[in-house]
Symmetry: C2
Subunit: 270 residues, 2 copies
């Protein structure tokens, strides 16, 4: 048993979907969330920059005594997980593998589609994770770079969103995937439109799966908190105009207890 | 006469459209361009963050001995121009006012539309600039947040882009604006679609106008370079996967002579 908080970081506030899942599955745990909103998004930056930012994000959480680090940012998990693991001694889990394991459990035909931002897809992180866990599956990746801006515009159910989704998803539909992995924090909000196009197949939302796997790992390592009342502290590196409105859309409840912070090495932002 | 370079900065590489215009109008000038690609975009960040970033960008150029600073970023020009002017003694021009002056020269009915990112439009910077220059005009602003992602996706002529443009621009069309100001570095690439919807009205591309106004100001201050061969040095705070391809789309020529730099106060990015 360990009463220290669980640390979760993302490039922005989309990772609050992971916080929501973890709170549901592990109601006693205290959570410290860091969103690097001053430098979001990570997906359009270089691998070097993402690694550097991710190390700073992890350091911030470690400095606050977290017992576990969850990488809720798909870009970070895609390119920085290994180096974070070798740099820090705290146990660490990324959003990529839990979704991969779940997709492999669900698929019957072994044909699995993965959608994400350009960086997540082109990094090859998903293909690598699938190959390491099972050689049997056939993975079809598809970058959907307009999905995040469409969610942030609030066009969840707009004709344009349906057209964009049709453009992106038709190749996956044609290839008869029986399982679709949503490889981005924003995509669960587009489920209605995605389901219209892809139909009645299996869907994997990695935000939920990372919560399930975190619970198992905390139990295995005897790090669970059985008594806490489960507080959530949210730290953001920038407070933009509409962060609260968008954040609450992801968190699914009012956003209290948040503050602006500056990361080490970023003396520019005081 | 002064042989020092002209400094131009933007949050990313879209500001290379301004470089292109300045090179055409002032072929003898040396140009130092800074794109803060590690922290782009600015438009989704807070006013405080944009001011801080813009001061650091200006400092970088001033440290390199520029004789003039051009703010090619509409978000910076919208919220940080005044504070940059009071902080530095070098002459400074932003992208907002030159376009406003041109639009006022072109309009016959006084009904002018302005399109830009959410921050540019909601900051009220354009309304303020129009009011200060002429009380006669009626300004209709419209935020078009999906235009930048569509340009970066390369969907310049896609049915989706036409539908999005129709959604955004129909209110301006209905209000019979006779002049449309493109208040974002990326929008000139969407001219074909925009013209399909708005028809044969006046269009103002502020990137060109800032070049015209810079030339006039250099002449007035006797800072022109009559003899230089006109070099361009490009500094970026991050080199992402496809920066060169997108950059050349804006610059209109091959991108040579670029390097990655770190800004003062950003020790995190070494």
């Amino acid at each position: 048993m360990n009463n220290n908080p669980v640390g979760i970081f993302d490039s922005g506030i989309g990772g609050l979907t992971v916080v929501k899942a973890v709170k549901r599955i592990l109601p006693h745990e205290d959570i410290i969330y860091l969103g690097d909103t001053a430098r979001l998004p990570y997906g359009t930056k270089s691998t070097d920059a993402i690694i550097q930012f991710s190390l700073e994000d992890t350091q911030f959480l470690v400095d606050r005594g977290v017992k576990y680090v969850v990488i809720a940012c798909y870009s970070s998990a895609s390119v920085a997980l290994d180096i974070i693991k070798t740099t820090f001694s705290v146990p660490i889990i990324g959003v990529i593998r839990p979704g991969v394991r779940k997709a492999l459990q669900m698929t019957k035909t072994g044909r699995i589609g993965v959608i994400g931002t350009s960086l997540t897809i082109y990094s090859g992180a998903y293909e690598k994770a699938f190959k390491e866990i099972s050689a049997q599956s056939e993975i079809l990746g598809k970058a959907c770079p307009l999905f995040v801006p469409l969610v942030e515009e609030g066009w969840l159910d707009h004709m344009v969103t349906e057209l964009v989704a049709r453009d992106y998803l038709t190749p996956l539909k044609r290839d008869n995937v029986d399982t679709l992995l949503l490889g981005c924090t924003h995509y669960p909000l587009l489920m209605k439109v995605i389901r219209q196009i892809m139909g009645d197949i299996n869907y994997v939302d990695a935000s939920t799966e990372v919560g399930v796997e975190l619970a198992r790992s905390l139990r295995d390592l005897d790090l669970e908190n059985h008594e806490g009342k489960g507080s959530t502290a949210i730290y953001l590196t920038d407070l933009s105009m509409n962060f609260k409105e968008i954040g609450e859309r992801f968190l699914g409840e009012p956003m209290k207890n948040f503050s602006r912070v500056s990361l080490k090495g970023r003396e520019g932002m005081k």
